[in-house]
Symmetry: C2
Subunit: 196 residues, 2 copies
């Protein structure tokens, strides 16, 4: 199954903590796909959620409540939302070689952004976290500047739009789409029953 997430999506942060374990319960593995919500919102012609009247205020209350219910302490970064290009590019490059390492780094990045309120767009943060994972950070920072790696992320973002990914988190199980952290109960049931 596939898990699409924007590193700056707080609901996907909550989902990222549960999704692998949930899938493993049903003998499934999860392919992680970082993307950027910006192009999806542009395709949909929608303003950023927090800037939207009514919804913006609601989402703040709803997310804080959902995080408390999940027992997750959240600290928002000063600049929010933001585009986490460096870790998204790094992810795909690492993922081609070592998916587990790519996933571990993505989890570390997510924790830095929403667990510690750090700036996920800063390549220095990526380098620091890569080092703690035993990844050569100097090489990683060079690699993510190359056109090939930049293009790879662009392709994945285009593909996300082709696949209908309209928000974050977004899950696709054998072609069936589920949008939102609040769909994880249905995802759980879908994996158990094989659909309904």
């Amino acid at each position: 199954m596939d898990f699409y997430f924007d590193f700056y999506s707080p609901y996907a942060y909550l989902a990222s903590m549960r999704i692998d374990e949930l899938a493993a319960k049903h003998g499934r593995e999860v392919n992680w796909y970082p993307f950027l919500l910006g192009p999806a919102f542009k395709t949909m012609g929608l303003p950023p959620m927090l800037e939207t009247p009514l919804i913006g205020d609601y989402v703040k209350v709803d997310f804080a409540r959902s995080a408390r219910l999940a027992g997750v302490e959240v600290r928002f970064p000063e600049k929010f939302p933001n585009a986490a290009l460096a870790p998204a590019r790094a992810f795909y490059w690492l993922n081609d070689q070592n998916p587990e390492q790519a996933k571990a780094l993505a989890k570390a990045v997510y924790h830095a952004i929403f667990g510690e309120g750090r700036d996920g767009s800063d390549p220095k943060l990526l380098a620091e976290l890569a080092e703690t994972q035993g990844i050569d950070s100097a090489q990683l920072l060079e690699v993510i500047k190359t056109p090939e790696v930049k293009d790879r992320l662009k392709q994945e973002i285009n593909r996300s739009i082709e696949r209908g990914v309209c928000g974050s988190p977004y899950f696709i199980i054998d072609g069936e789409p589920f949008w939102g952290n609040d769909r994880l109960d249905q995802v759980d049931l879908w994996l158990e029953k094989g659909g309904w």
Copy 2:
């Protein structure tokens, strides 16, 4: 607790079938508030959901799946979405005299729209359903044409926006807002624990 719903909101149709029973389990009563999503979407600057790229396609899949999971057979009316002014106006007028009767009529209207695919904007449908509830339909159709009753709905819609109602269904429990049929599990828990 308060339950805001647009008669043309299919997710609120699912919620309308559960909300009274769910609240009663916790010794609570539900005040029903029909409103129209149109003015809320105008306030938010958003296009209708089904006309929005990506989200429109997703919502069709998601709603059908959620309805199947709930065991609810749904038949969409030919004209969808639509503005169910007549039943919303009738609701507030009846509700001032007999809240249980107003609620029963609202449930009958909802079933006609999404259970039978009938036109909820047609005053003839309202009249027919009112008669089956023992309500004088000729009087009802006259009453909903009066400026007082029309204004009452406008006031309730304005109040919904003041209260932050950004979608349908939307629940407010002692000031705490919950948006979406998929928040009913949180609503259940909130009523049980008195918050968290």
